[in-house]
Amino acid sequence: MPSTLRRTALYDQHVAAGAKLVEFAGWEMPVQYEGVAAEHRAVREAAGVFDVSHMGEIEVSGPQALQLLQRLLSNDVAQIALELDGGGAQYSVLCREDGGVLDDLFTYRLDTDRYLTVTNAANHERDLDWFQTHARDFPEAQVVDRIDDYAMIAVQGPLARGIVQAISDAPLPARMAAATRRLAGEEVLVCGTGYTGEDGVELLCSPAEAAGLWDELVRRGAVPAGLAARDTLRLEVCFHLYGNDLSTERGPIEAGLGWCCREDTHFIGADAVRAVRESGPREKLVAFAIDGPGIARQGNLVAGGGEVTSGTMSPSLGVGIGMAYVPAEHAAPGTALEIDVRGKMRRAVVKQKPLYRKGS
């Protein structure tokens, strides 16, 4: 592997656990340990632990922090609560003027005028540049790159909260909230968010403390899980993956993310988003399941127009699943699709999102 790849603070943990390491967005990351099926099952049935330290962080602070974020992020940032004990979390997209999506992000409120936004690894530098460029219009907002200050560990699954709670000095923040806690003695930002469709938390800590925290979580039963399981888990619950399901080529309405766009906040791209919302998108991102054998993959074309943006074999459902942009008139659940999978036409059916629900 080229030596230019970045390694997370947990690299030694991955090697010791026998991980298969791959290049991902410039980082050397664990794609799997024991095997994707077992890791996927551990998260659905118990608890898994993921190293997601490749994700970036941007801190925005100062008297104009809210105004800057309101300009950048599609959601209504003023709605992120601040309690005595911690702040709220909010999902949004970052759009260009034409509505094309630059990234999808979670923003956590740390204090009255202090916010932390988590970026996708592949987009971090572009996002940072975008934040800094627009910060010039808001001189009392400071934008600081925090990527080197945080390691990020996701603990996900029905037993995840219990495992983390057992080493916490205080009750964990609720879902969609974030608060600083001492975990095994170290200060950690605990976020009630995730990317698997399971309950759980995401932990932001200093890189120096990451290995100790990881070992403690594993010792208490969280199963190391890699990027491959992260992908099958998120796709079963139809969470978007930037670079697959989101890109600058399409807007948030097409992607089904109109719920996190508040055009009245005048974010960059709001006019373009409003126009698509009012006229109705020509294409929509749908979830589908293959009817019969086969697995559709990213880039496979849909007969009658459209393309698959994510596809895999669902470990929970045992069928090929995916998401695809299709003409809006083909987007209703129950619609039959034909997908060209390397020259073979595979039948698929548009499904209600999410594809997997607890207990299904």
């Binding site: 794609v31 799997q32 491959a228 992908d231 099958t232 054998p293 086969g294 697995i295 895999t312 390397r342």
Partner: protein
């Protein structure tokens, strides 16, 4: 099978496929993918079974195996006609990972040209192509 292994009694194709000449009937060969192939691919989640009676050509793809992340063509090490496919795989694709030279076999073919065997590698030569 957690550790790499390349049995001595097989013939190997550089695209990570093996052939076992049937001891009782040297006109028939069993085909499959190597330990290296299944390890690179990861857990197999789909195998498109070819049909009995179909012809396969040496160096050409006759089937596809898919893992969660990747699709891989399965290359025929020998030309011939498929006389049997491993139907048991339909219920348990993990056999391709767990026992690639045994229960994870893919197809049996009636060999069209016995001379093609000479172009395949033995276990030592194949292992050497893997860089150790």
């Amino acid at each position: 099978m957690a550790e790499a292994s390349y049995p001595e009694d097989l013939l190997y194709h550089p695209e990570h496929d093996w052939a076992r000449i049937d001891a009782a009937d040297p006109a028939v060969a069993t085909l499959g993918i190597t330990w290296y192939a299944q390890d690179s691919l990861g857990e197999v989640v789909f195998f498109d079974l070819p049909a009995v009676g179909a012809s396969v050509s040496k160096d050409a793809s006759y089937a596809e195996v898919e893992s969660v992340k990747a699709v891989s063509d399965v290359i025929a090490p020998l030309s011939g006609e498929i006389v049997e496919v491993n139907e048991a795989l339909a219920d348990d694709l993990q056999k391709i990972n767990e026992d690639p030279y045994g229960e994870g076999w893919l197809v049996k073919v009636r060999i069209a040209d016995p001379a093609e065997r000479e172009q395949l590698m033995d276990a030592r030569a194949y292992a050497a192509t893997l860089g150790g």
